[in-house]
């Protein structure tokens, strides 16, 4: 049956409509979790608020379990699900740049739009910065193309790299997530802040 688009069960336009609805849902959850506050987002780096970690990791493990069970029931062919190609150098570099921007600006790309939508001026400036970054990257693409495309690893899955089944890897990830939640809450108690 699934995934819906590669199996041509829905048209491209329906796909965009679904993406639009899911996008609004995503924004709603971001705002409802308080992600439009840059202080809350930056909190994960200082340990006084780890709600970002908890929300995103919960989302990840729920989606992971959903896909694995859909595959188990024969509702979805996991081989047809798009996996991002891995370019190791750009992943590391991008992670560092993204992390630096996150800690300085207090937003990640999604939450900045969310916060701008409720009128946060710092978020609007963040978005301007985002577009400046996009502009520099695209205009200077020939300069960093070789870095961008360096160390292409194909479409690896973590569980295949380690050599364990995907179900067992899922269980390990769930346990790791809960361990991080527990640590996060310990950190919240250890580095409390009155008002942010």
């Amino acid at each position: 049956m699934g995934p819906l688009l590669p199996n041509e069960l829905i048209s491209n336009n329906t796909n965009f409509l679904l993406a639009f609805i899911i996008g609004i849902g995503f924004g709603f959850v971001l705002e409802a979790s308080g992600f439009s506050s840059s202080r809350k987002l930056a909190g994960v780096f200082y340990g006084y608020d780890t709600v970002v970690l908890k929300v995103f990791f919960t989302g990840a493990i729920v989606a992971m379990l959903g896909m694995l069970f859909f595959s188990l029931f024969g509702w979805m062919d996991l081989n047809l699900v798009y996996i991002n190609p891995t370019f190791l150098t750009s992943v590391i570099l991008g992670g560092v740049i993204m992390g630096a921007g996150f800690i300085m600006g207090g937003f990640c790309p999604g939450t900045s739009v969310c916060a701008a939508a409720i009128g946060k001026i710092d978020a609007m400036f963040f978005i301007i910065g985002l577009f400046i970054g996009i502009f520099i990257f695209t205009e200077g693409y020939p300069i960093w193309e070789h870095i961008y495309k360096a160390k292409f690893l194909g479409f690896p899955k973590l569980n295949e790299l380690i050599g364990i089944s995907q179900g067992f890897f899922a269980l390990l990830l769930i346990i790791a997530a809960f361990a991080m939640f527990w640590l996060g809450e310990k950190a919240e108690k250890a580095f409390p802040r009155e008002e942010y």
């Binding site: 379990l65 024969g74 769930i174 346990i175």
Partner: protein, 206 residues
């Protein structure tokens, strides 16, 4: 009890289940039984031996002949530029690139049509396009292309045209019969003989 702990216990239970069950590795069929039946009824998957012979002689780059018989049978005889994918290994990942593409026209053949048709059905159900079956298989190929029989003198012109083509193809593909090679050793003399036959036929018709 803390609702967060209940939720955590629920997710861990699901994780334990997913870790314990084997992965679902079955390939999904993309066509329903009815869709496949419609395609089978229309016989759209068949390519005639004449069409294939024509494409081989013209060195049509868009065809890929696929021999689904066993490797030793493939060794003994195969069509020009055919590759061997035994029916038993049709699902192996090694051949996915060959079978699932939209550039070339894959033509399955076996001795008869049975094995080739089975290969076609499996690949079609997986949603692969551009796979076809050589009509009648190698047996019919031998009968029509390798050893074409002269039509009766009362046959329509089409039959003679087809026969001419088949004789030419037979010579080009190295399948000429003893009588053919006895009569004519050069290609150029053959068409002359054919044309005479045509004239005869025309005279009788009038």
């Amino acid at each position: 009890m803390n609702p967060r702990l209940i939720l955590a216990a629920f997710i861990i239970t699901l994780g334990l289940i997913i870790a314990a069950v084997p992965e679902n590795t079955t390939k999904q069929y993309k066509l329903t039984a009815n869709q496949l039946l419609d395609e089978i009824k229309s016989d759209m998957q068949f390519i005639s031996t004449d069409e294939v012979a024509d494409m081989i002689i013209n060195k049509d780059p868009s065809i890929q002949l696929i021999d689904v018989r066993s490797p030793d049978q493939f060794e003994k005889f195969s069509l020009p530029n055919a590759i061997n994918i035994p029916l038993v290994s049709i699902l192996s990942d090694e051949w996915t690139d060959v079978l699932d593409q939209d550039v070339k026209m894959n033509i399955f053949y076996s001795n008869g049509t049975l094995d080739a048709n089975e290969a076609w059905m499996i690949t079609r159900q997986l949603g692969y396009e551009n796979n076809y079956v050589l009509q009648g298989g190698l047996n019919y190929w031998a009968e029509t292309i390798m050893n074409p029989k002269a039509p009766k003198s009362t046959s329509p012109d089409d039959e003679f045209a087809k026969y001419d083509f088949r004789k030419g193809a037979s010579a080009a593909l190295g399948g000429a019969t003893v009588s053919n090679t006895g009569n004519t050793s050069k290609k150029s003399t053959k068409p002359k003989i054919k044309r005479k036959k045509k004239k005869k036929r025309a005279a009788g018709g009038c």
